[in-house]
Subunit: 183 residues, 2 copies
DNA sequence: CCCTTTTCACCTAGGTGGTAAGAT
DNA sequence: ATCTTACCACCTAGGTGAAAAGGG
C-alpha cells in the first residue's frame, strides 16, 4: 500500500457486514491499523519477496482510530448495509494533523474493525481512542498489507491500476505494449 | 434560486453560529424551508419585479428536514464552528427519493434552522420530522428567496456567476463584451 | 406565451501511479 | 544504494448557467 505525506486512500478498501447487533441500540463502528510485528522489511527484487531488514519499536505508539462517517447509527441501519471504509486515508507523516492513520513505510500491518456501543459520554467529534468497555474487535487475516512509498514490483502495480477507477489513466493498452515486446 | 428535478445545491448557502448550548449535551442541527405565503409569483420584466400571479395551497405538505451532516454532535463542538448548510439540495420533483428538499417553482420561501436536543430515541438515519419537544427554531428574514427553473433577470444571474466557484466558466470577460456593446 | 427539461461546455475538487530530483 | 518527495498528466465525480427542445 502506498503511503504519502498528504495521505492516500487505502485501496482496496475494507468492507464488512455486521450481524447480531441490537437493532434499537446505537453503535459507532471504527477501524484502526496495528503492526503485524516489529520488523522492518525490504523487497528483494531478484527473489520477488519481502525479507526482514531490521527491527522497529512500535510499542509506544497508540494507533489512530478512524470512526466510520455514518457513526453513530442504530444497529438496524448498520446491519442493513455493507460498511465500507473507503474514505480512510493513510499517511507516513508522523506530525499529521488531518486525522489520517499514521503508518511507517516498509512495515507490515493489519486493519481492525471495532463495534462500539454508544454511551452518553461518547461524542463523534471527540473520540480519539477506544473506550474501556462496550467494544468488540475483529481482524481479518486476508487484509494484511505492507506499506511502501513506491511499488516494488509490477504485479502489485498492475493489480492496483486494474482495480482502482482513479488509475484508469494508466490502463492504456499502448502503455503495456512496450513491456510485452521485451519478451 | 434555481431548482431542478435532479436537485441543485442552495447557493449562497445558509451559514449560522450558535451560542448558549450546553457544551456537554448532544444536539442535532437541521434546516427546512417553508413557504413565505400561499402565492404563486411571476416576474414582470419591464417593471423588474415579482408580481402575485395566483394562489397555491401549501397546507397539506410537511416540509422535508435536512439534518446537518455533522449531527449529532456536542454543544461545545457546534459552538466552535460556523455551521454551513452548503450541501443541502433543492428539487422541484415532488416524487424525489434522494432526500432533497422539495419546493415548487415560482414561489417564495424562507429557510429555518432547528437546534434539537438529542434524546435516546433519535436516530440520525431515521429522523424525518421534527420531534415534539426539545427543539428551538430560528428564521432569518434576509434568507428569503424565490424559486425558478431559469433566472429571470441578468442582475441575479451575474450575482450567481460571480459568487459561485462552480460557475467560473461563465465569468469570461469576453462573454460580457457582447452584451455591453449593445449599449 | 410562459415555464420546464435535457444536454452541454466549462469549471471545482480530488484520487491514481509515473518520473525525476532529493535525501540519507 | 535505497527510499522519499514534489510535481505531473490523466482520470473520476460532480456543481454551474446557457441554449435548445419540450410541453401545456
Amino acid at each position: 500500500m502506498i503511503i504519502t505525506k498528504a495521505g492516500r486512500r487505502m485501496f482496496p478498501s475494507v468492507r464488512v457486514k455486521v450481524k447480531d447487533l441490537d437493532p434499537f441500540k446505537q453503535y459507532y463502528i471504527a477501524m484502526d491499523i496495528i503492526p503485524v510485528d516489529s520488523k522492518r522489511y525490504r523487497y528483494v527484487y531478484h527473489s520477488s519477496q519481502w525479507m526482514v531488514a531490521g527491527n522497529t519499536d512500535h510499542s509506544c505508539i497508540t494507533p489512530r482510530l478512524y470512526i466510520h462517517p455514518d457513526s453513530p447509527c442504530s444497529g438496524e441501519t448498520w446491519m442493513r448495509q455493507v460498511i465500507s471504509f473507503d474514505r480512510v486515508k493513510l499517511t507516513n507523516n508522523e506530525m499529521d494533523d488531518k486525522g489520517h492513520i499514521i503508518l511507517q513505510s516498509m512495515h507490515k500491518y493489519k486493519p481492525r474493525v471495532h463495534v462500539i456501543v454508544h454511551s452518553a459520554k461518547l461524542d463523534l467529534a471527540q473520540i480519539h481512542s477506544l473506550p474501556d468497555e462496550g467494544v468488540k474487535t475483529f481482524i481479518f487475516k486476508e487484509t494484511e498489507f505492507t506499506t511502501v512509498t513506491a511499488y516494488q514490483n509490477q504485479q502489485i502495480t498492475k493489480l492496483k491500476i486494474d482495480r482502482n477507477p482513479f488509475a484508469k489513466g494508466f490502463r492504456d493498452p499502448g502503455r503495456n505494449r512496450l513491456e510485452k515486446n521485451i519478451f
